[in-house]
Structure formats: structure tokens, C-alpha cells
């Protein structure tokens, strides 16, 4: 079997060869593929912009676009509940916190000097080789066929997830509320001005 990770990587980088399709019918049959690769391009480009942007404000806005692309992936994987929660929690709550902090700190450019060129180069090399090692390790992973599910056994619905959350994962669910109370108290104590 000549099926290696290199083939997968090439297929990913060439967008699953969707550009080789010619007729409209062929395009319609691979609609999910087109959406996946378009979203993948958006997600990778905007996460790179988030990291590379000089202005923290722009970083926040680029990160919001990345989060919406992520929600698109969740919908594509038919995990509707996770997609909705992701939009509400990340784009709605976490990014608003980030935006407020960036605006409150009101940082001007000369306050933050960029790192030395050598350090930046080393960081990019380290990140790139990290990705290479992970993708190479993926080549040793076992392949499994996707489990085909009927319409009645959908996994990502609120019904299934709610039952799971309140039966098997009840204790962790309750513990998260303790975590949130600790966080709330901690934030109030930390940000209170001392007399």
C-alpha cells in the first residue's frame, strides 16, 4: 500500500486537487472539499497575520476571523453545538475581553521594541521544525476508516451532548463552576485598586 503522510501533505498543500475539476457538476459534488480548503486557507493565513501583526489591535481582529473559520470547520464536521458555543464563548466573550484590555492599556508603538532579528529567525525555525516533526510523526500513526453514522446517530447535537455532559461528565461539569467562582473572586481581588 503506497499511502504515506507525504501524499497527504501534498494533497493538503494542493487543496486536494480541487482545481483539476472542470465541469460544474464536478464542482458541485465536491462542495465540502472546496469549503474545507477555503476555510483552511483563511484559518492559516489569518492565524499567521495574528502572530505577525505589529499592532495588537489588528491581531485581535485577525484572531476573530480565525475563530469564525474554526466555527466553519466545526459545522463541516457536523458538530453544531460546539460551533455555536465556540462563536459565543470565543468571538463573543474572550475576544471582547482582549479588545477591552488592548484599548485600556492604550499601548503606543515605541513602548514595545521588536525582538532581535536572530531571535525572530530562531523562533521561526523552531516553530517550523516543530511542525515538521509533528507531521513526520503522523506518518507512523495508524489509519482507521471513519465510522459511518446514520441520521439517527448524529453525534454533535445538543441532545446527545447534553445527556453525556449530565451523566458521565457530571463531576467535571460541577467542578468547572468551582473553577469559575475562584476565577471571579481572583479577578476582582487582582484588579481592585489598593487604598
Amino acid at each position: 500500500m503506497k499511502y504515506g503522510i507525504l501524499d497527504d501533505l501534498i494533497a493538503f498543500l494542493t487543496f486536494g486537487s480541487i482545481f483539476e475539476k472542470r465541469t460544474t457538476n464536478e464542482y458541485l459534488t465536491c462542495m465540502e472539499q472546496i469549503i474545507f480548503y477555503a476555510l483552511a486557507f483563511v484559518a492559516i493565513a489569518f492565524s499567521a497575520l495574528t502572530v505577525g501583526s505589529r499592532n495588537a489591535m489588528y491581531s485581535v481582529l485577525y484572531l476573530i476571523v480565525t475563530f469564525f473559520a474554526m466555527a466553519g470547520f466545526y459545522l463541516l464536521l457536523s458538530a453544531e453545538f460546539v460551533a455555536i458555543v465556540h462563536i459565543i464563548v470565543y468571538a463573543g466573550a474572550i475576544m471582547v475581553l482582549f479588545l477591552f484590555t488592548v484599548m485600556m492599556l492604550n499601548l503606543n508603538a515605541p513602548l514595545l521594541l521588536p525582538r532581535a532579528l536572530l531571535v525572530r529567525l530562531l523562533a521561526v525555525i523552531a516553530g517550523g521544525s516543530f511542525a515538521l516533526v509533528l507531521i513526520a510523526a503522523l506518518g507512523k500513526a495508524a489509519h482507521f476508516a471513519p465510522v459511518a453514522l446514520g441520521a439517527s446517530q448524529a453525534v454533535g447535537t445538543v441532545n446527545v451532548l447534553g445527556k453525556m455532559l449530565f451523566n458521565e461528565f457530571l463531576l467535571p461539569f460541577e467542578l468547572t463552576s468551582v473553577l469559575f467562582i475562584a476565577t471571579m473572586v481572583g479577578v476582582v481581588v487582582l484588579t481592585k485598586k489598593e487604598e
Binding site: A40, F73, Y74, V82, M104, L105, L112, L134, P146, L190
Partner: protein, 109 residues
């Protein structure tokens, strides 16, 4: 909902894995690259998101909902982490008027 298996057949699991590996590495790169504490935090959020995407992909391909419940918990912890981290950041900014991580290499300000 019947489209689900079709979708899964069209985009292989390996492509989801490669995508989340790339986004995770971009996040790791950002942590190493940037000095602005807020952007370092955002890079950590990117890494958490890459892991979430991987968990949802595995969960959908295996037909097991536990992965998506895990994603839910990761989101909860990420929200708590961001709230506390930004509060600490505000406190640091109040004290040293900067959020450059290179200026925080000493415990005594």
C-alpha cells in the same frame, strides 16, 4: 444530516490533523516570537483552538461524543484562563507601565 458521512469521506482525517498541526505551530511560533504579553496570550488561544479542532475531528470521525464534551471543558478553562491572565496583565501594567515580557525577568519590581 445524511451528508455527514459524505463530508467525512471527501475530506480525509489526515487533512484535519495537518491543518491543526500547522495552526498549533503558528501559535507556538507566536509565543516564541512576540514580546507583547497580549499577543502571547492570543497565540496560546490559537494553540488551544488547534487542539479543539483536532478533538472535534476525531470525535466526528469515530462517532464518539466524548471528544466534543472535552472541547466544551477546554473552552471553559480557556475562558477562565483569559479572564485571570488579563487581570494579572492589568495589575502588571499598573505597576511597571509596560507589558513587555522581557521586563518581567525579575521577581522584584
Amino acid at each position: 444530516m445524511e451528508n455527514m458521512t459524505e463530508t467525512i469521506r471527501l475530506v480525509p482525517l489526515e487533512h484535519y490533523i495537518i491543518l491543526s498541526l500547522i495552526i498549533f505551530s503558528i501559535g507556538a511560533m507566536g509565543v516564541l516570537l512576540r514580546r507583547n504579553m497580549i499577543v502571547v496570550f492570543m497565540s496560546i488561544e490559537l494553540m488551544l483552538n488547534a487542539v479543539n479542532l483536532l478533538a472535534v475531528a476525531f470525535s466526528s470521525f469515530r462517532g464518539d461524543a466524548a471528544g466534543q464534551v472535552f472541547v466544551f471543558f477546554v473552552m471553559v478553562v480557556a475562558a477562565a484562563e483569559v479572564a485571570l491572565g488579563l487581570a494579572i496583565m492589568m495589575m502588571i501594567f499598573r505597576n511597571i507601565r509596560s507589558i513587555d515580557i522581557n521586563q518581567l525577568n525579575q521577581l522584584k519590581w
